[in-house]
């Protein structure tokens, strides 16, 4: 069990580190923190309380709070998708903006029975758009598409991350996603 106070302290510390504020409305804040706590108890990680999860870590990696989309959302709208994290202007005005979902549809779709989704996709898609070659991840023998992780490095500060996509904004030097490049290597990762 995670203590609510622990969730609150973690969020406060993260906001402070990145120059953000937590939502100015106490009842909303309480609700977000409770949602995070429930998800952490349920799935083992503080999943975004405003999004549907697959319950599988690798599928949910981008929506573990603070999510991948927080930094670009706060930069563009003044708040993250949930509106847990806000910038100074929003914090002071107390007017929470509408924040559209930035998470790509194909990642959202992972929350819905992946096995069914991959099997029914070709028939549904064939009527609407010309067939596209199946991504390499779907050609594997496993039932569920695997998340293919790669090594990425920030060309500005050298930060290295091993995951599906590079972050929208470098957590170290704030460089944009475009500054990330894939590291081509033949190193094998065991365990």
């Amino acid at each position: 069990m995670t203590a609510l106070e622990q969730v609150r302290k973690r969020a406060e510390a993260d906001a402070k580190t990145y120059g953000y504020y937590l939502t100015p409305q106490p009842d909303l804040l309480q609700g977000f923190l409770e949602g995070l706590k429930i998800n952490e108890d349920r799935y083992g990680y503080p999943l975004c309380p405003c999004r549907l999860t697959s319950g599988k870590f690798e599928y949910d990696r981008d929506i573990i709070c603070p999510c991948d989309y927080r930094d670009p959302d706060v930069a563009e709208y003044g708040a993250c998708y949930c509106r847990l994290y806000v910038n100074k202007a929003v914090y002071e005005s107390k007017n929470l903006p509408e924040v559209p979902e930035r998470r790509p549809l194909e990642k959202q779709a992972r929350a819905y029975a992946p096995q069914v989704a991959t099997q029914s996709a070709p028939t549904q898609g064939a009527q609407e758009k010309p067939p596209t070659p199946a991504p390499a991840t779907q050609q594997t023998a496993t039932q569920q598409p695997e998340v293919k992780k790669k090594l990425w490095y920030c060309k500005q500060c050298g930060y290295v991350v091993f995951r599906e996509d590079p972050p929208y904004i470098c957590p170290i030097c704030k460089a944009k996603k475009e500054m990330f490049a894939e590291i081509e290597s033949t190193v094998e990762f065991n365990g």
Binding site: P49, L52, C82, A111
Partner: protein
């Protein structure tokens, strides 16, 4: 899939709410409907089994909605994404 039904004085519209049990904006939508005494049915999608989740996905996308919560469907045609009091008021004529 079992919907929880909430009865209110105003039942001239069929209101279906797709929500998440952890989501504050979903709770506020329920609260808003309750306060305005609207009859509605809702389901917490995160608590459903895989098959039901798939059905929810098909229902929402077939009506042109996005897979975000809360999603409110009024009279099987108006889809309101997010907790939008203005849009809910307009669609529910309150």
């Amino acid at each position: 899939m079992e919907f929880s039904k909430v009865s209110g004085k105003k039942n001239n519209h069929k209101v279906t709410l797709y929500a998440l049990s952890t989501c504050v904006w979903c709770k506020l939508t329920k609260q808003f409907l309750n306060e305005n005494e609207i009859s509605y049915e809702f389901v917490d999608v995160d608590l459903l089994g895989e098959e039901d989740k798939q059905k929810v996905r098909q229902t929402i996308t077939s009506k042109g909605g996005s897979l975000t919560y809360p999603t409110t469907i009024i009279d099987n045609k108006v889809v309101i994404t997010g907790f939008r009091k203005d849009k809910l008021k307009e669609a529910l004529e309150i």
